[in-house]
Symmetry: C2
Subunit: 244 residues, 2 copies
């Protein structure tokens, strides 16, 4: 199969569907990987957080365990976002607060406010706060209820990688406006959904690699009655609270 | 070049950019046609309405004239939506009010509320109201100001074709939620933006052909300072007023 073009974004379903609890069906991870080698998302019934780095997929669970996905054709994702990541800018930088990283991204890509950015950071983190969703307790349970039970973890002095996207405001509901990033440690033993740009501090400089993405592809669930009947009304506050 | 897959949607830019007056740049019509053979949109500086039927492109101007685009590599579109139209359902139906067509579409595609539909209607119309935008009077002039000067036309007893899309609510701002349709007469002398499902009445039955579209591709303008600096805040009322 032909490789996907670099730095285009592919997503399956929309984030509002998760808010409405649409998470019973989806596409196999193997299909997702035909569209990109880096990404994030979730798994059937929103059990855990997904991170994809260099085509390796990990399920980061709320009990703190990390499961590498070794049979990607057998595992389903109801929502995920991937890209074939070919960073066009690389820089070393240290971050101690949200303002640092926002400023850096705006300096690196001064004209990208209305575009997507894909962002990878490799290095040592002095602290990083993540959460992991435990999954639906019943079919159709919405993301807000799930994240109200989420486990949060603080990791200290850990080497690892953050990967995620900064999305333009106008995609809110389809995706998450602003930053959405997941983290996994180098030893693949710790990870989760990064609780915003303010939730981590680097230990000295880390490697930051970024690409601007101007082509966006979305595949909607078909033959999925949960999706077909969902309200899918943009609830910006709920999405920001659950995914921000 | 390989044909695009049938019944996927490709759009260039987003409708909020037109609201903000972003219409100086874009892609050539020839590039647009690689993504589909049916569609609609507008032209540089929002001069007139575009309809594409069977890969033929027409510019429908506010003075009532229709210009076939014979040099598609030389003509720019700042916003447009196309598909390689392969209808999966065809039916003959008569319409006298909005309720008729909404009911028919829901009967034909009972599970498509959260998907896109592409819709073509061929036949004789007892009456049809359209508008044509005259274009920007200065660079950056927004869509609301332009449509406040739009010309509206009522055609009676005219044979022709309506083509357009019904988009799910969650794409408002990126595209137009609900129906967005353009019309051109069989003699290619009359046409414009159809003023909603309530603005036409068929003369007996017309041929209705429809496809559901579940894959959506969006290309954002690059190296376009107008786009890069635009607010692009979803103004649902303005979009509905201008494009509904």
């Amino acid at each position: 199969m032909a490789q996907p073009a670099p730095n285009e974004i592919f997503q399956f379903s929309i984030v509002s569907a998760l808010v409405d609890g649409v998470a019973s069906h989806g596409i196999p991870i193997s299909a997702l990987l035909t569209h990109g080698d880096h990404g994030l998302g979730t798994f059937r019934n929103m059990v855990g957080e997904m991170i994809i780095l260099d085509s390796s997929v990990y399920q980061m669970k709320s009990d703190g365990t990390i499961v590498p996905i070794t049979s990607p054709s057998e595992v389903i994702t109801p929502f995920s976002v991937v890209t074939r990541f070919e960073p066009t800018q690389r820089i070393k930088a240290a971050f101690s607060c949200k303002a640092d990283i926002v400023k850096l991204l705006n300096e690196m890509f001064p004209s990208a406010k209305n575009h997507f950015l894909s962002i990878r950071m490799d290095g040592k983190f002095k602290k990083i706060y993540v959460r992991t969703a435990g999954g639906q307790e019943c079919p159709g349970e919405g993301m807000i209820a799930i994240t109200s039970r989420q486990r949060t973890y603080k990791f200290e002095d850990v080497r690892g990688t953050i990967f995620g996207f900064r999305c333009p405001g106008y995609v809110m509901g389809i995706n998450v406006a602003g930053e959405h990033m997941h983290f996994i440690s180098d030893d693949r033993l710790k990870g989760g959904h990064v609780l915003g740009f303010d939730s981590f501090e680097t230990d000295g400089e880390v490697d930051v690699s970024v690409a601007m993405c101007s082509k966006f592809h979305m595949e909607l669930p078909t033959d999925d009655e949960e999706f077909n009947h969902a309200a899918l009304e943009r609830d910006s506050e709920a999405i920001a609270a659950a995914e921000g």
